[in-house]
């Protein structure tokens, strides 16, 4: 490949990513592309981080989107993948930006929800649950939706997400929920949460240490039986019968499959 074409294209990209080449509005050419990039960046971040957008407001989000675009350009041709670096990038911003200290953790949680939105689809398999009473749990495993994960946060950002209805637009945050989330944030309470997808809807809920350990065991132990043995030793108080009932109702457990079918 000729160096010339490579260099020509690299030079245009360098100009597009150089704030110094920006010229007043109304001129086309390079600024037309730079203006489009700013608009694209704002739309992409607003789509991936709807709760963060509500927390900081439109103007701040636009400024963050512009700066993040310049610092962390997209690497893929699908903008749904741009924004993965935002949590770490926010963490590197100095105090002069006057952003909430919990914003990077909120972004980390919200990116998980964004990724879940395009995780592989899976339908509930209620007919398979009967296997739990018919077969040896050492030969079985519980099937969870693709992308399910447990995360721990130093601040109460999951409460913030939940107060905003996880940003899906269908729930208006209530004053009470926002106030409660604010109090938890101020108290500096850490939170654990499980993130999963129910149907097409990304979900999250707070969990305690025992449930977090159980979900971890389901993911790492070779079978349901092994996970149950491990839980019995670590957290004997967790009521698995009640947990299973709720998890099935919430779509966190899809069904039962062979342990070897991993």
């Amino acid at each position: 490949m000729s160096k010339t074409l490579l260099e020509q294209q690299a030079a245009l990209l360098a100009a597009l990513w150089s704030p110094a080449t920006a010229v007043p509005l109304g001129e086309a050419g390079l600024p037309a592309y730079q203006r489009n990039a700013r608009a694209v960046a704002e739309r992409a971040l607003a789509a991936a981080y709807p709760v963060l957008r509500q927390c900081v407001g439109e103007v701040t989000l636009a400024a963050l989107a512009r700066d993040h675009w310049l610092d962390c350009p997209p690497l893929r041709g699908d903008l749904a993948y741009w924004g993965a670096d935002l949590p770490d990038w926010l963490g590197r911003l100095g105090p002069e930006h006057e952003l909430p200290t919990w914003l990077p953790e909120l972004a980390r949680a919200e990116w998980v929800l964004h990724q879940l939105a395009t995780a592989a689809d899976a339908l509930p398999e209620p007919g398979t649950l009967a296997r739990l009473v018919q077969e040896d749990p050492d030969q079985l495993r519980l099937a969870l939706p693709a992308g399910t994960q447990v995360l721990v946060f130093e601040t109460a950002v999951v409460s913030v997400l939940l107060a905003h209805g996880l940003g899906d637009g269908s729930v208006e945050p209530t004053a009470e929920a926002l106030q409660a989330a604010g109090q938890r944030l101020q108290a500096g309470e850490p939170e654990r949460a499980v993130f999963w997808r129910q149907g097409w809807r990304p979900r999250a809920r707070l969990i305690n240490a025992a449930e977090a350990a159980w979900l971890h065991a389901l993911h790492t132990q070779p079978s349901l039986g092994a996970a149950m043995h491990w839980l019995e030793a670590q957290h004997p108080d967790l009521d698995l019968g009640t947990w299973l009932q709720e998890a099935v109702a919430q779509g966190l457990v899809l069904g039962v499959r062979d342990a070897m079918a991993h």
């Binding site: 490949m1 074409l5 490579l6 990209l13 597009l16 990039a37 350009p73 690497l75 041709g77 689809d121």
Partner: protein
């Protein structure tokens, strides 16, 4: 399709609409449908999710055209294998009536990494650029096992180097690879107007008929057999420049080019593109009917 079969198709069946998220539910609930639906391929990448689910539902009832904005066919750093994998998977799922993208580049080197500009950046109309794009188009067609349609850009920059005119470049690309051309008439008009303004400034009145003649000459240079699809759209006029923003009805000069194009090429799949400031679906359907009317009136 053979000519006798083409003649059996209604004018409406040739015209499609861009189907965007605000109109998903309305169409699935039975709103009047155009001849085909066009969606942006990249919006449906990923293993699953609601958007893909909706598209799979739509494909049961409507022909789907996958229009990409991110393949970056002209990039000197090559195609992104990840992007091609995602597109191939989507094509296998949807089995679209057409797959298209642009004669542009987006990927390139920046600060030691390969980035994607998320825009359709112009390539120089050089032999080197043509060889590169032809190899990429062939790579995509080999992978998808179907022809690609490649669209002309609205460009706000141009390279000094050129061995061809834009239309010569595209026709040669089609000749070498067997790809189709997706001729965007709004882009032609925007480019012609902006070229005039760059040369003469905005104080000199534009010779509308003269600019249309420039675009008609462009169209005359395209062999009918190369034309896979036509795009119609609106543009914004900032006072100094026209911007191809797909945010308003198709303008009269573009309708004039459309009538000329179909009179020369015969009926071709035609898309009404409207991506910003989306109007009600009924307004889009009106635009589609207008296109069908022009097609019925002018196609030989």
């Amino acid at each position: 399709m053979s000519e006798p079969l083409q003649a059996l198709r209604s004018p409406e069946s040739w015209v499609g609409l861009g189907w965007r998220q605000p109109h998903y539910a309305e169409l699935l609930q039975g709103a009047p449908a155009p001849g085909f639906l066009e969606v942006h391929s990249e919006n449906f990448f990923g293993a699953g999710g609601a958007a893909l689910g909706v598209l799979m539902q739509a494909r049961e009832q409507h022909p789907i055209s996958l229009h990409g904005v991110g393949l970056s066919l002209g990039s000197a750093v090559g195609l992104d294998p990840w992007h091609l994998d995602q597109l191939a998977e989507l094509v296998a799922r949807v089995d679209p009536v057409r797959v298209s993208d642009h004669a542009s580049f987006s990927r390139g080197a920046l600060r030691g990494q390969t980035v994607h500009a998320a825009d359709l950046l112009p390539v120089p109309w050089t032999t080197e650029s043509l060889n590169l794009m032809a190899s990429h188009v062939q790579q995509v067609q080999d992978r998808l096992r179907r022809p690609l349609a490649v669209e002309n850009l609205s460009a706000y920059l141009s390279w000094a180097d050129h061995d061809f005119s834009e239309v010569q470049f595209l026709v040669e690309l089609a000749r070498r690879t067997g790809c189709g051309l997706l001729v965007d008439l709004n882009n032609l008009h925007v480019n012609a107007r902006n070229a005039w303004r760059r040369q003469h400034g905005t104080q000199v009145p534009e010779p509308v008929e003269g600019l249309l003649e420039v675009s008609r000459a462009w169209l005359e240079a395209v062999p009918p057999e190369c034309v896979a699809e036509i795009h119609l759209a609106g543009h914004a006029d900032t006072g100094e420049w026209l911007i191809d923003d797909h945010g308003s009805p198709t303008s009269e000069p573009v309708w004039a080019l459309y009538r000329h194009a179909v009179s020369r090429w015969g009926p071709r799949p035609t898309l009404i593109e409207w991506d910003t400031d989306l109007p009600p679906w009924a307004v889009l359907m009106d635009q589609a009917r207008q296109a069908a009317g022009a097609l019925a009136e002018c196609a030989p």
